[in-house]
């Protein structure tokens, strides 16, 4: 036990905060992520994290809290992507790319202005790679509230979301407004990205979004178990990552530790690769897991 938890671990308040916020954002990311992967929107999800970078760096420039920046930019970006390229799948990829490119350029601008504005270094690091050990405790309530709201919205639109993810035509035929569901989902995606950007940074929140979800979809048969497996995996990975990151301060003589995000991402990547081993993967692939909605459409022809 002594080797796993380096001195000072249990008595440290920042670590406790990290645990709570990490777990909450991991759960939201995992649940939203399962739908994201199912809908084949991993690129959009990732693009939103880069958009969040813009928000974070802009927030710093305008003296707002980074959470506000992440969330605000995410919502704007989600709106832009959804409005520009809904219909054709390839058009959507290009639209996503354009928004991403523009947002990234804006992020470059803000980061540049940030560094000229104040002498403080480490802004980029915080925004891009997270600041889970240096979080302001006052952000906890906001994080929890936004998480509950997001999960609540998802629970509400759960069934129409599922149907429109698998087959937009079927959903439309049943009177479901696929467009509205799509927008709501993108908003949920934006919020979850914003939340996890606090914990692991905007560049790496993609991992929390996609990783546990993709892994869970590979090893489970149905949606419910996928959601549970993804959530559990997300939380476990986050906690282990925090522990390892804390410990890593003591590993190197430079006493510079490795970022939490690195450990979390590495663990997620490892888990995904391991899930591909024979015996771990489901033998019969169910249609929802093996193919995103659009190719299913084409296959059904």
């Amino acid at each position: 036990m002594h080797y796993l938890f380096e001195p000072g671990f249990f008595s440290s308040a920042p670590v406790g905060i990290a645990f709570v916020i990490g777990a909450v954002s991991a759960i939201v990311s995992a649940i939203v992520g399962v739908f994201t992967v199912m809908r084949g929107q991993s690129f959009a999800g990732h693009a939103l994290t880069d958009v969040a970078t813009t928000g974070g760096s802009g927030a710093f420039f305008f003296n707002l809290s980074p959470l506000v920046g992440f969330l605000g930019a995410g919502v704007l970006g989600a709106g832009a992507m959804e409005s520009v390229g809904v219909d054709r799948l390839r058009g959507r990829d290009v639209a996503t790319g354009i928004v991403l490119g523009f947002a990234t350029g804006l992020a470059a601008l803000f980061l540049y202005l940030d560094t000229t504005k104040s002498a403080s270094t480490g802004v980029s690091q915080q925004i891009l790679f997270g600041s889970i050990f240096t979080l302001d405790p006052s952000t906890i309530p906001l994080v929890v509230v936004m998480s509950v709201i997001t999960l609540g919205v998802l629970a509400l639109i759960y069934r129409p979301l599922l149907l429109s993810s698998i087959s937009p035509d079927l959903a439309a035929a049943r009177g479901i407004s696929v467009r509205v569901i799509g927008i709501l989902f993108m908003l949920a995606l934006a919020v979850s990205v914003g939340l996890s950007s606090i914990a692991v940074g905007s560049l790496l929140s993609t991992a929390l979004l996609i990783g546990p979800a993709a892994t869970a979809l590979r090893v489970t048969r149905n949606l419910h178990s996928a959601l549970i497996v993804a959530s559990v995996m997300g939380v476990v990975v986050t906690w282990v990552g925090i522990i390892l990151a804390y410990d890593s301060f003591y590993w190197f003589t430079s006493s510079q530790g490795l970022p939490v995000s690195f450990f979390i991402v590495a663990l997620i990547f490892l888990a995904y690769l391991l899930s591909g081993l024979p015996g771990v993967r489901r033998r019969t692939a169910s249609p929802t897991a093996a193919a995103p909605a659009h190719s299913l459409e084409r296959a059904a022809g």
Partner: protein, 271 residues
């Protein structure tokens, strides 16, 4: 012109996923013949077409094109796949797409010769696609795109044209147009046509021969030979009746049998 059939499918068997998809299928296609590959979805038509194109490994049997065994690319075959998703944003005119049928495998750049351009014009005329030759290939309607795909497959002067469910997503008028187009391709230009469909009635007036597939097994011959109760019953493994009414064919299973396997015109009901 020799008597060697353009295509010989010789006791071909294919299985994958633990399932026998094709079981000792045999038939020939001769020069200029119009052959319909009829069977409902999932019976193995696409697998058979892929096997002919050399894209599917055979468990046993052989396929020969003009007497020669299959090679990786056979320019004597033209192919129109079932679904070609052509985005309206793709910057390519219909005539350029057809021209690509001449030299898609060649490396580097070269200006198209006058002979090549004339050939493209000629084939566009043959399929009646001249008027939209300069339009974007992705902006065409389903029927128009189908013609362009056929032109693309024909421009290299193949001996055999293979089409995978070309009629599936077309409206009845387009179905008629494409069928008569393919018929004239076969009879006027001597190109053999093998097309798969799940419904044979639209093809009855033009089909020279039929290959009727179910459960991975096939019966081939003229429509009169194959579309008979005894032949099809043997093929299905249970009794079916064949009714011919006003030039159309209806294949009916006995009550209680699984009708799902029987290719039917969607508006004609069974029982």
């Amino acid at each position: 012109m020799s008597d060697v059939p353009v295509l010989e499918v010789d006791h071909v068997s294919v299985s994958f996923g633990g399932r026998t998809v094709l079981d000792e299928v045999s038939f020939d296609v001769r020069r200029g013949e119009f052959t319909g590959l009829i069977g409902s979805n999932g019976v193995g038509k696409t697998t058979l077409l892929r096997a002919i194109l050399g894209l599917q490994r055979l468990d046993s049997g052989e396929i020969r094109v003009e007497g020669e065994p299959l090679s990786r690319h056979n320019h004597r075959l033209g192919y129109v796949p079932q679904k070609v998703a052509l985005d309206a944003d793709i910057p390519m005119r219909a005539r350029d797409f057809v021209a690509l049928g001449l030299d898609a495998q060649r490396y580097g750049f070269s200006r198209r010769t006058k002979a090549q351009r004339d050939r493209v014009d000629e084939i566009l005329r043959d399929v009646d696609a001249e008027r939209f030759g300069d339009s974007r290939v992705g902006s065409l309607s389903g029927g128009e795109q189908q013609r362009v795909l056929i032109a693309h497959a024909l421009v290299g002067e193949p001996a055999l044209l293979l089409l995978d469910e070309p009629l599936a997503n077309l409206d009845p008028k387009s179905v008629q147009e494409i069928v008569s187009l393919l018929h004239s391709v076969a009879s006027d230009h001597g190109v053999a046509v093998l097309l798969s469909a799940h419904e044979m009635n639209a093809l009855l007036p033009v089909m020279d021969r039929i290959v009727y597939v179910t459960n991975g097994r096939a019966a081939s011959g003229t429509t009169d030979e194959v579309v008979q109760s005894d032949v099809l019953s043997a093929l299905y493994g249970h009794h079916v009746d064949v009714l011919k009414l006003h030039g159309r064919v209806l294949v009916v299973a006995e009550p209680g049998q699984d009708d799902a396997e029987i290719p039917q015109h969607p508006t004609l009901t069974v029982n």
